[in-house]
């Protein structure tokens, strides 16, 4: 997995609440058996018209935000389907960090498995960041995972919370499965004990 330590980049504002994973990547793109190549279809139905042409006023189609690496969004980002195609598409587009007042649980977890940092901040702080993002390409935000801070283009800094284990994995690009396999002995002994307690399982 890709590491995430610090990031300074353009932030795209999407002040919508309840952005669901169907919006992030509509189902017609779930038919792939690969993880890559989904970036062009990120937000497909909001981004392109019926003929496949770009809709000019969609944020990621604007010149200022084509290279966005951060997304600032409304409450309950990533709700709905568990599809990991949503973070795959976000990552493939080039976005490495999403900031919102809250995230849906499965999406939030999926981000960490893909080198994306989701940051939950109080609404008033997200409002400040949204304003900053609206300034366009010259306003670059900085995310520092080690110090757990977001700094606006004006130098205003907000601290965020992140689970220590998830942070450790993200900063070091660690593969969860490898880490869990180191605990195989615990799983083995759990299985032995569970087999006695609940043999019907």
């Amino acid at each position: 997995m890709d590491k995430f330590t610090t990031l300074t980049g353009i932030a795209a504002p999407m002040p919508l609440i309840n952005i669901d994973t169907d919006m992030i990547i509509p189902k017609q793109f779930l038919k792939t058996i690969k993880r890559s190549g989904l970036g062009v279809n990120l937000f497909d139905e909001m981004r392109y018209d019926d003929d496949g042409a770009e809709i000019p006023n969609f944020v990621l189609n604007k010149e200022a935000y084509r290279e966005a690496e951060i997304l600032v969004a409304g409450d309950n980002f990533g709700c709905g389907s568990s599809r990991e195609h949503a973070p795959w598409a976000i990552k493939d587009f080039g976005i490495r960090c999403v900031i919102a007042p809250s995230f849906a649980d499965i999406f939030y977890n999926n981000c960490f498995k893909n080198g994306i940092l989701p940051i939950a901040l109080p609404q008033d702080q997200v409002d400040v960041l949204m304003k900053d993002a609206e300034k366009g390409a010259n306003a670059r935000m900085t995310i520092d995972l080690d110090t757990q801070t977001v700094t606006t283009s004006d130098g205003e800094t907000f601290s965020f919370e992140v689970d220590s284990f998830k942070k450790h994995c993200l900063m070091n690009g660690l593969d969860d499965i490898g880490l869990t396999m180191e605990k195989a002995a615990s799983i083995d002994s759990f299985e032995v004990q569970a087999e006695q307690a609940r043999p019907w399982v």
Binding site: K31, S82, S102, M181
Partner: protein, 467 residues
Amino acid sequence: MSPKTLYDKIWDAHVAHEADDGTCLLYIDRHLVHEVTSPQAFEGLRMTNRKVRAPDKTIAVPDHNVPTTPGREDPKNMTEDSAIQVAALDKNAKDFGIHYYPVSDVRQGIVHIVGPEQGWTLPGMTVVCGDSHTATHGAFGALAHGIGTSEVEHVLATQTLIQKKSKNMKVEITGKLRPGVTAKDITLSVIGATGTAGGTGYVIEYCGEAIRDLSMEGRMTVCNMAIEGGARAGIIAPDEKTYEYCNGRPHAPKGAQWEAALNWWKTLYSDDDAQWDKVITLKGEDIAPVVTWGTSPEDVLPITANVPAAEDFKGGKVGAAQRSLDYMGLTSGTPLKDVEIDTVFIGSCTNGRIEDLRAAAEILKGKKVAVKRAMVVPGSGLVRAQAEEEGLADIFKEAGFEWRLAGCSMCLAMNPDQLQPEERCAATSNRNFEGRQGRGGRTHLMSPAMAAAAAITGKLTDVRDLM
């Protein structure tokens, strides 16, 4: 011992390892797999030379992509990319030696309907699937939730999931439901009350007389939509109805094992003095038949209400409501009962079980549909067979419904069953998101009886007017 909730008890029985910071390895008893969210996980196993740790606890079935029309066993009758995903699942099931129900098998169906039907889902288990509606299995008093594809790979390789414990939330529905009100109305009303993020960070236990009175099918409908309220899982304590449903299922325990299982299952309830982090109570008699008007499952109103105005809301919801009204092509102040419907879809893991078909057929008996198209997609081949045996299929067909084969179908429109732009659908599924049932399609969520009523009148309809 300190008092525990049902969730606490199942959690404690499945922690295989706990780190100092509370990060746990939760052991998984049942891993359900479908064709859309698993190919990359199996590919990951192959690339790292890993095996499936517990193939006996892993069950696969194709459901999301498959056509629901005859001849679908022939890959030529699927789009090429769908056929590739289904073929990949066929191959992965064979290569890794996991239980499999191919499209040609009468037991095939929507993964969340097949699991309980075959007795894979039992009380007290941990159940996961790369699908958010895994919450359905919570109806059995199992801890069940959706996971992403990386986690699918993690469970395949280790039979565990890295988890931190969620908080406990109690949703109590007291008293009795009124006639015409169903499990779907309960679950939609709860989301209407809490919002789609109201459950974030929680496992919800549904309880109270109205929940106890529900059949297992109804309880599955309620738990199915826990995820729509943002919860990690929804759960209902097992009782006699649960045991009765499980008894005799192909993969349920038998004989002495059954007795042993029963002994444990009977300990699976929340202790009287258990601590709850959040409690919501609704009165059963206050719940009306409801429909959704917008593009979020929280946009719920009684069928007797009018289309709301964006100004009725606060904060970010004002803009979201306006966007929903525009997308749905609705004018504020219009009575919901005046909204005309083009299409009716009865099916999905929310409402594709036998009881759902019975409820719809009851309303449809001897009537004709007044919509452009109407379809019933049974949740599994076995539900379909039973409905045929009970004569329900004939009622649907005579009314003008298409009688389909089992699958997810128009719930998410990954197969050929899709809405056209601006086509308005009365659906028994669980999501009314923009484009969910086809680009530009407009979805109103409701119960099977309400969908049947809409089919007859061609409008959103109060089922009580037809009873």
